[in-house]
Amino acid sequence: MDQVRNLLDRPRLYYNIDGLGDLGGGVMCLGFALILWLLMRSPADSVWHQISVLVMFGLALLIRYGTKAVKTRITYPRTGFVEYRKRQTQVIAAAGGVLATAGMAMVFRQHWDISMVACLTGLAFAAAYGYYFARAVRWKWVIVGTMAVASLVTAFLPADILGDLGSEVPAHPDRAKPLGTILLSLMVYGVLLLISGGVSLWVYLRHTQPPAQEGQ
């Protein structure tokens, strides 16, 4: 029965066989970090504050359709095309959205320490990443370990370092540490995901060849 279970899991693991899932996640984290940094450093009346949500939405669309385009050109001709079950994907996306919203609402209502929340979120993300990706690709446990360590280090960094990172124009001292924590977490996770995705893509391209044009 375990072998049947493994077979049922394989299409899910196939999604990230080329590392594009990681690369997309990395670009998303670094993109959001850049947007946040620009928001912090630009005056409140700048046009940037009005279009930032649109830019985030545009970035998400770019990643979604960019990934699709790369898969169509690289992955499908080499190792085949898969269309995932739409209902499953929608349920996962909806559950993720509800959990994230509920979590954010809880954090702001209860005034929790953002460093600890970022640390716990990071550890949960590292665990999920390990469960979904590192089980199939062993070297990704290094990424999982680094994510976990980075989350813990971020939580215990001195407040003045995080405050410097999150300083705004004009200054809001009470928001500096939370913003610094979020910015640092996004940057660390973005870089780790880019490294992981880049290595995966390199390994994938090295070990697969596009088939002769005779049909699939």
Partner: protein, 98 residues
Amino acid sequence: MNQQIRTIADLDRVIHEPGRLMIAALLFAVDRADFLYLQHETAMNKGTLSSHLSRLEEAGYVAVTKTYRGKVPQTLLCLTGAGRKAFEQYRRNLKKAL
């Protein structure tokens, strides 16, 4: 014959063959996939994979669609409703038998 042995005898022979079980399980988890994907995941050669797919198609478990990806012919495969039911039933029976 006790109940457990009867359950083993009731296993769907079309799906029970290891090659076809791999194909059915892989297709069960997705909406559809192409021939190349199945070949990559099962590590079967084209002839063996085609023959298993023909058997599943004859049983009405797999639907085959021939199409093109750009100028390249592409064979898309998906489990039919009967195929999904048969696979679920097979898993239930296998669980009981074990």
